[in-house]
Symmetry: C2
Subunit: 468 residues, 2 copies
Amino acid sequence: MKPSIPKGTRDFGQVEMAERNYIFDTIKSVFKTFGYAQIDTPAMENLSTLLGKYGEEGDKLLFRILNSGDAFGKVDFGSFNGPDGSVNSAALSKEVCEKGLRYDLTVPFARYVVQHQNEITFPFKRFQIQPVWRADRPQKGRYREFYQCDVDVIGSRSLVNELELVQIVDKVFSLLDVRVLVKINNRKVLTGFAEICGFPDKVVDITVAIDKLDKIGLEAVEEEMRGKGLTDSAIAVIERILKLSGSTSEKIASMRSLMNGGSPSGLVSQAGLKGLDELEELFSLIDAAGITSPVEIDLSLARGLNYYTGAIFEVKAQDFAIGSICGGGRYDNLTGIFGLPDMSGVGISFGADRIYDVLKGLGKFPSDLRSATTLLFANMGAEETRFILPVAKALRDRGVAVEIYPDPSKLKKQFDYADRKAIPFLSITGANEVESGLVNIKNLVSGEQKSFTANDFPGILGFLGFRG
Amino acid sequence: MKPSIPKGTRDFGQVEMAERNYIFDTIKSVFKTFGYAQIDTPAMENLSTLLGKYGEEGDKLLFRILNSGDAFGKVDFGSFNGPDGSVNSAALSKEVCEKGLRYDLTVPFARYVVQHQNEITFPFKRFQIQPVWRADRPQKGRYREFYQCDVDVIGSRSLVNELELVQIVDKVFSLLDVRVLVKINNRKVLTGFAEICGFPDKVVDITVAIDKLDKIGLEAVEEEMRGKGLTDSAIAVIERILKLSGSTSEKIASMRSLMNGGSPSGLVSQAGLKGLDELEELFSLIDAAGITSPVEIDLSLARGLNYYTGAIFEVKAQDFAIGSICGGGRYDNLTGIFGLPDMSGVGISFGADRIYDVLKGLGKFPSDLRSATTLLFANMGAEETRFILPVAKALRDRGVAVEIYPDPSKLKKQFDYADRKAIPFLSITGANEVESGLVNIKNLVSGEQKSFTANDFPGILGFLGFRG
């Protein structure tokens, strides 16, 4: 009988909401100091905007919205029957649903840029923090409604943009007090590997295999590549790459020599050399900007391989095992799908749910998020309330979160209220105090108790530990 | 060919978004000082939660979400044909849609309270700022996706709660620099009028007629009531009420005498007297708390008449004609629909779109919302950028929004960028400055220009007008 919510969705109560807002507010504050501006797009997009953008599997995971009004009135159901009499659900749903819920923030962003291209000042630096919906099978850590938090700059090929994203990541996690490792790869370097192997069309196979190195070891990786049709001499080239060591600049120098004809194949890759130039410049900018977090090259980073064209980013928490908590990269053709070619951009997405789990797991949420209220005035009756009202108002005007318990209930009940809401300060100002013009406040954590004249706001604020 | 968004929905670009956030952040900051905590509920609710809560018309305006997977696979279409062969769209859509988009924040709040009643500390003070969706015909000022901003306390009958809502309204609009008029009515007083007229079942008819007084005049109002079946002697009672004048306390005193047998009918209304007690206590609390905005009794306030049981609120802008910008009241049976009876609550809703229009119309948005960025460093080349990077970092760490133009484009283009984005300060720090360790900054509004040593942050911050 109790009402419930659809599976895979969540209610966020007061504490969880305060904790989530803490993450979003921190991220936003950093975005803003870099001049990124927030935009919002509608939850519903036309299905013509969404369909075909996420592959066949993605199309199935779109939540479709039934047309309003008489959705089925004009449908000829017979025409949606297959030869065996079964209904073609996909075709029928296209007929009765014109809109769907957004699946990510990337396609709506591309749509936005194309639709508003004449109003936008390029390079366009935007961020967007909104929920997305996917009809995935719900399971632990996977929801049907979840927030994405994307920051992108589009309309500039400069690597200063890549640097900024690394700076943003560095600053956000420094503010959240989480030690992270930033991993960087470059799609052009991966292309280069495939080219100097002599298998330029096997980039994906090679990268997928390399990605497993930590898990399955060198021999198994080589076997997998052999299975994909790579020759022993090609594999020998890959082996040379995988065995690279040293500092970032040493690695880049070694790769440059391999790309420049120094590998067993003797082949040269212009794409690879270009990718190494980019990596080198980016690391040089990172050095100049002064990044606190470690930043390293990870040649196995393969996310969004069909999509990214330059830098690829991934961020991991150093002290909590949960996979990547941010990821992104450079793309050259985001808006091409909507008819606006040649717009290069680079972006990164913060995984809010995972970052939440990291902060929770490491105990990094500030403890004052647990309570919305700093001071509760117990309700001792109508006269006392009238006496308290201007005091409460003055404190609120100074930014203190103050409650007056609304009913003159038993003190035990009012105490319980303060306790359950983790309110740290309680004022029991009764008839005697009112007569003397005093406000009594108790620190419920330390037990310390003090009386103040009702207009001694410096005194009260100080006792509440409020800087103002 | 250009992509578009569904009718009745909106994209919010950078400036509009900053302006909307200014409103929401102001409202939130006030909610928080009163100890209200934010919650979020999912965009999708089960249709069983939503259907039947908004009347027949409301059910039609719900956006329904097609079940995921093979939605139509098991549907026997024949069984949804009416006798004339037409399809019963409503019944079929119930069969293939289990979920819908929320229509307001009130029903999800009621659902939340019932579902989480064992975790919630009552009185429960919550606010919620989220979009809602309605399949209304879009027109000027009416959207299919729009934000609601609701604040409620549930689980207490104390009028201190009503007072708090008036205080919140007063504070929010004082911060937004908009002069408002707060109008208050009480459902029990309206009941009282009907009772002393001798027509206790005609509360709605009477109130609807009174509501038109300003527009159509006394005679037309009386004619309308006559048309609804009220007798001349009943109308004489109403006339006495409508002619009440004087201060709020004089009005309450006159009404008390009418409710207490002093009207032409001589009837007494206990409900009416109770309502007057409530009004009197609320105004006395308002006096004690010190409210800046004018607060007045408006007997024609009839919003949510089938729903509210005590106080009824409405807020109007004094200097901009747009109808009500906030509204709310006390309800006694919000959660009864979900099986939890006897939970009295009171709440108010801020109309974000109308408040936006008021601020826009009165020119009350702070001008610095137009720009996301305070200072743009022109890109004069790779060496200059490296010199600028630590300066930009230090300023960002101090909270200044700083951009470095990513590409070494022509200065004209970079100037245009600053101009179009309304960035107030531009730094053109070239090779000469770098050599002397100087940063040059120009105030693009006043034309004033100054050079600073690169680590003179007090000087730079002062020039940027940044308090830090």
